[in-house]
């Protein structure tokens, strides 16, 4: 591998890793507040991408503007999903049953996408779709840069919400010890609902970013959920910094391996990392105190 090719792959890996990090942060939020593994996360991601595409088709405006609609919409849907679906499950088998429930939601979304917009592959065509910037011999597509910027800004906002606001403190308390949180007067049910909404909002942002750069089709979400799941296990279930670091590392690794191995084989790095983690350190490599028992 030449130096230029290496640098190119490295940059692409970092850009992709940013998107992975944002989406994995959403998954971590659900797991944190409810111990729920949200299989439908990537189905909502693709749904948001379709909405961005449809918005662009209909209005001719930039698909980024669809964020104004999709982010609040997904927040409400996430809140509703927690309050009306997930909270109905029995606490004793919550984790496994929530996997099945969200899996059912994912299938339903995939089926409806295929039904409404058919299985045809869709792609957003923009004036800046083919544009790229060249920095030190590395050319970077503008759309990838925008996607990364969106992810970085959203992750930063998420960090600020969790660290600086009283809602963030309540959410972290709920994650760490729900009973204790209730004892000091936190309405953990409401917090869990809002945490879900926040998590789903990351899927809205991610989906819009995805629509700029990728060809989308209804079953695409399976290509995303596998790597994302691997990332949150490697990072340690429930740890947002862990998820972000694992996302960067694995994103870069997959991007670098793509050159000698090709796209398909490079994807296996996520699953190999997953199984290695389970063998060596089942609770994950970064933090993830929660993961041991779930």
């Amino acid at each position: 591998m030449t130096g230029a090719l290496f640098a190119q792959s490295l940059v692409l890996g970092i850009l992709l890793g940013g998107l992975y990090a944002l989406l994995a942060a959403g998954l971590t939020l659900y797991f944190g507040v409810m111990r729920v593994v949200m299989i439908a996360h990537s189905a909502f991601l693709i749904l948001a991408a379709y909405l961005a595409w449809y918005f662009h088709e209909r209005s001719g405006l930039d698909p980024l503007l669809s964020l104004v609609i999709t982010v609040p919409l997904f927040f409400v849907v996430g809140y509703g999903m927690q309050r009306f679906l997930v909270s109905r499950l029995r606490p004793i088998s919550l984790t496994t049953m929530s996997v099945l429930l969200t899996f059912a939601v994912a299938l339903t979304i995939e089926g409806l996408l295929g039904f409404v917009w058919t299985g045809t592959q869709r792609r957003v065509q923009l004036e800046y779709s083919g544009a790229s910037i060249e920095v030190a011999g590395v050319s970077i597509a503008v759309v990838k840069l925008i996607a990364f910027a969106l992810a970085a800004v959203s992750l930063g906002a998420l960090y600020l919400i969790l660290r600086k606001t009283s809602f963030g403190r309540a959410l972290r308390a709920t994650t760490q010890h729900p009973e204790a949180a209730r004892l000091i007067g936190i309405d953990t049910d409401r917090v869990a609902g809002l945490g879900f909404g926040l998590g789903l909002a990351t899927a809205a942002v991610g989906g819009t970013a995805l629509a700029l750069d990728y060809t989308i089709y209804p079953s695409l979400h399976w290509h995303w959920i596998g790597p994302l799941m691997a990332i949150i296990v490697v990072g340690g279930l429930g740890s947002i910094p862990g998820a972000a670091m694992a996302a960067m590392l694995l994103g870069v690794a997959a991007s670098l391996l793509q050159v000698p191995l090709g796209t398909t084989w490079a994807q296996t790095v996520f699953y190999l990392a997953l199984f290695l983690t389970l063998m060596i350190r089942p609770q994950g490599f970064f933090g993830g105190r929660l993961a041991q028992r779930f």
């Binding site: 593994v37 004793i92 059912a104 299938l107 296990v233």
Partner: protein
């Protein structure tokens, strides 16, 4: 404990036992007679598909029902079973039936390291690992053209000669699937009554307590997974011999794995015939949907909605729901095992 005495196993009334025997005989008679009752080969082929689903769901239940470890990636084992059988026939010229059994054994061996990695963690991580497994095999079988035929698929040679016509083929495979189903059910029944079964159910109800009581939890879980993988692979292999064609996208699809879960949950994971019942209902529905709305994605929506409803409102399945309704009607103290959850509920009620 107010209801403690009702948990003791006593012998069932003879009427119940007789009714069970009659029901079992009726089931066997129905399966034996089905090929001659089926009006046309298409219905017969639907019968083969449903029996194949029943084999897969019952095999899934060997691990899912006993241990409570929900695997969404069991399609990996059925697909590998199909490919192992086909590749053994094609590459080594092995006898098809020998290849089927050898394929099952190979997959059982593959399940050992997979189990060692994924059974160390509970609940969420296990499900994630099971999904990852099916995605990884799909990637490998799509990309490894020289060995597996890649995305073009693989033609499986037929075990019966060309002189055996289509309807005759369907009939033979119907009975072969029935035999395999009987073996899987027998295995479930035997395990249920064994020390292994008691240990596995203890793991399902409370793994920490089971471990504290000296149940070798890891070895038991691994045994259940390997046996389950073996039967699932046989199911996949037999289906491959019948269908005659393998495509990695369909063989290693998460959808197939989710069918197994849906069928078992719908029928009831704690009962012997639960998965079979679920397979009949879901398998029939899937076939109808595919023939009615073939090209649309509506069957995904139907599967998703049904799975969601079962998980939300009937997580124990149809059979337990009906049995408990019957028991309530009779007002009799039921003779049954009590799950850890029911015990917790009872305790909460007495505490109030």
């Amino acid at each position: 404990m107010p209801n403690g005495s009702s948990n003791v196993r006593t012998s069932r009334p003879t009427a119940v036992r007789a009714a069970r025997t009659v029901a079992l005989l009726a089931l066997v008679a129905l399966i034996v007679l089905f090929p001659s009752l089926a009006p046309d080969p298409f219905i017969l082929s639907v019968g083969v598909v449903i029996l194949s689903y029943a084999v897969l769901a019952t095999s899934w239940n060997l691990v899912g029902g006993f241990t409570g470890y929900i695997s969404l990636g069991h399609a990996a084992y059925s697909g590998l079973g199909g490919y192992a059988t086909a590749l053994l026939i094609l590459r080594t010229g092995m006898d098809p039936w020998l290849a089927l059994i050898a394929g099952g054994l190979i997959v059982a061996v593959i399940a050992v390291p997979v189990g060692i990695a994924s059974l160390r963690v509970r609940g969420a991580s296990f499900v994630i690992a099971s999904i990852a497994l099916v995605l990884i095999v799909q990637l490998v079988f799509q990309s490894w053209h020289t060995f597996t035929g890649g995305s073009n698929g693989l033609r499986v040679p037929r075990p019966f000669g060309t002189e055996v016509l289509r309807p005759e083929q369907h009939e033979r495979f119907f009975y072969l699937h029935a035999v395999l189903l009987a073996l899987a059910l027998l295995t479930w029944w035997l395990i249920e009554r064994s020390r292994l079964g008691a240990g596995l159910k203890a793991i399902r109800e409370d793994e920490d307590k089971a471990q504290a009581l000296g149940v070798p939890t890891f070895a038991y879980k691994l045994t259940a997974l390997v046996v389950s993988a073996f039967f699932t692979a046989l199911g996949g292999g037999l289906y491959a011999l019948w269908f005659g064609y393998l495509d990695p996208i369909f063989q290693f699809s998460i959808l197939i794995g989710s069918y197994m879960v849906l069928m078992s949950l719908l029928g009831g994971v704690r009962s012997l015939f639960g998965p079979l019942l679920g397979a009949v209902v879901v398998g029939y529905a899937v076939e109808v949907f595919k023939s009615q709305y073939g090209d649309t994605q509506l069957h995904l929506v139907a599967t998703g909605v049904l799975l969601g409803l079962v998980v939300l409102f009937m997580p124990d399945g149809v059979i337990p729901a009906l049995t408990s309704a019957l028991n309530r009607r009779r007002g009799a103290a039921s003779i049954r095992e009590v799950s850890a959850e029911e015990l917790a509920n009872q305790r909460e009620e007495t505490a109030r």
